[in-house]
Symmetry: C3
Subunit: 299 residues, 3 copies
Amino acid sequence: MQQVALTEQLHLSRIVYGWWRLMSWDMDTKAIEQRLEECLALGITSHDHADIYGDYLCEASFGKALKNRPDLRQKIQLISKCGIQLVSPQRPHHGRKNYDTTYAHIVASAEQSLKYLNTEFLDLLLIHRPDPLMDADDIARAFEHLKTSGKVGAFGVSNFSVSEFNLVQSRLSLPLVTNQIEVSVLHHASFHDGSLDQAQQLKRAPMAWSALAGGRLFSGNDAQARQVRQALEQTATDIGAASIDQIALAWLLKHPAHIMPIVGSQSLARIKAASDSLNVTLSRDQWYNIWEAAGGELP
Amino acid sequence: MQQVALTEQLHLSRIVYGWWRLMSWDMDTKAIEQRLEECLALGITSHDHADIYGDYLCEASFGKALKNRPDLRQKIQLISKCGIQLVSPQRPHHGRKNYDTTYAHIVASAEQSLKYLNTEFLDLLLIHRPDPLMDADDIARAFEHLKTSGKVGAFGVSNFSVSEFNLVQSRLSLPLVTNQIEVSVLHHASFHDGSLDQAQQLKRAPMAWSALAGGRLFSGNDAQARQVRQALEQTATDIGAASIDQIALAWLLKHPAHIMPIVGSQSLARIKAASDSLNVTLSRDQWYNIWEAAGGELP
Amino acid sequence: MQQVALTEQLHLSRIVYGWWRLMSWDMDTKAIEQRLEECLALGITSHDHADIYGDYLCEASFGKALKNRPDLRQKIQLISKCGIQLVSPQRPHHGRKNYDTTYAHIVASAEQSLKYLNTEFLDLLLIHRPDPLMDADDIARAFEHLKTSGKVGAFGVSNFSVSEFNLVQSRLSLPLVTNQIEVSVLHHASFHDGSLDQAQQLKRAPMAWSALAGGRLFSGNDAQARQVRQALEQTATDIGAASIDQIALAWLLKHPAHIMPIVGSQSLARIKAASDSLNVTLSRDQWYNIWEAAGGELP
């Protein structure tokens, strides 16, 4: 599978596997090990986590598989996130939902992720949400500490606006290597708010969450979802693709910013379909059919 | 007439003549030659085209006049645009309306414009619309090829947002010399979205399309059009101007970004009125009367 | 009281006293002198004016106190603004409300402020509103003249967007040291439009006008005001603060951009409460309770 070089050291697989729904999949440790092998066989080496996924349980569950199979660690890239504080039985001291991007929280959260994941090293750590109280110096100091101590290899953000990205970058000697944003055939905000322009300009390939619009693509009943589904089905038929998710991902892959879709399906068939999307090249006509079906303007 | 220096080599007349409606004017080649002479007499030396104007027929029609009068070529500046692909009898291979800012399309379109216009050189080539799929490296490569091969002298964009402009500029060794935007007494978006701030900051004088609001100024029946028309009429009376279009253009000319209005009227009287607008200097009171009549805020 | 260093020479008190309602306070010159002493005793050394406050009468009224007490001048910082032209009996030659940011107007307005205020020196001069016609070179020339002539020490803007700030800064050799913006627990625009990001990135501490939402905080009956008031009251109770305005100001003070609230109350008790807000440190939970009560999103 194609890889995207975010730094000299950090290469992600173009399709990233997302574990945020793991706790609803009812996979035991063996099944997780098997899934890791299956992803590897497809060339999907990058795995997306966050401290809060599965109500703070997801990383630990995944980490048991890594403990059983330490040989896998060097073959994969681990991504995690921090900065959101949830009310949870796992965190009884949390009074309410907050963001927290202080030095202390970032460092503690990253170290906790390392423990849960049974690893000594995160390949990539992201600030999960822009915190209206974020102190860019504090974030920079935390990132630089985690880098120097060898605990995290590279850093980025998620859901950041252009000015929020620039603010944090301005205080940081390391590059913010990515902005993980919501973008899909059904969600075009990043085409209009400057995010994709910034990503292309700075050559920081963005990661795409909800790359298949969280299932709305397959079953959404609103007008936009139905129109886009129809356009995807037409294109799938025209080019002989097996399923519409391949087309929806190929639509993201065609963008010059080098979007890396995160696929978070339990189904191996879906993961294979995602992997196959790299072999699909949409024509401009096909791409714009989908753009327009989603309500994208073309004045 | 005042000229605006976009580069050392490229000076445009402050008022630019727009040919986008040529095919509806029913002008024969002789009439086009005469119009060129009339414009020259007024100091209007810059002529705005696009590949798609008149359903791809406009440039060729204009080019016949240039073929008859090769002596005129050195006295005028030719501007064209590319990047939109229309469904048209002239382009039977086009499957649907698209944008196309690939290297191949830009170069082929510019070369086609040269043939139609019967010239060996475009003074200025613009990307007509921001293409959500635009690859800035590709655009830069096309522009640099056209520059090196002597086919185009300078480059710009049209309808680009601030971040889209910055993206393309970031990959280009040549300056983007202008952004041709919609701006008029009835269309203020560029005052609020950063476009005019960027134009002034980078000293890239913008061109104004629909500078007279596409006729809405004269006959629009909505509240905004009626209020603005009334304010324009009052000012025309106050300063003894012959017509409201002079005031509407003088309103644009007063802006410090050095806006270059494109006037696309068939009527010689209108063109003369436009030319005369350069002799009208609005006071701040007059300018703000019109701003406020159009709904512009003044907190 | 904490001071904020805007330049090496210019330090403002973290709480700034605002005089815009002076003419409605019915204070005589002695009372103004007393107010200056009271502010000094609290460490509030910075005083915010504008040419237009009190229908052009405010600065002169304040200036009488300074004339009586020239010893106070060196102990305080005087801030004024220019660029708005009001219809007023004090300015019979003004035809209508306008903005005017020409060289001539800026210089004349600043010189007039000096006369009214009975001082030879303004510590800080701001452009009051972004003028759609502003010529950044003109503004820069006026600022540099006022600096060179020793009449004004530092310069800034008010209510400027990010791109307007960047435009003016791009032509100015001096730093724009602040953007005086509307921000409060009830007014979050600057959290979303990039203004606070820019302020933090450039390390230009913003001043906050309507820092207590112009009284809506205390008596507003709309849903947002009621919810926020309730959250402020809860927090005041929790931490034993005397009043909700302390909490509302502490909420601004917690932001890492170093917001300087302007307090424009006639009541000495309110001014003391404002001063006390510097001793209140909100927890993140408390800050986000207020953010969310005001409708701030937390996805």
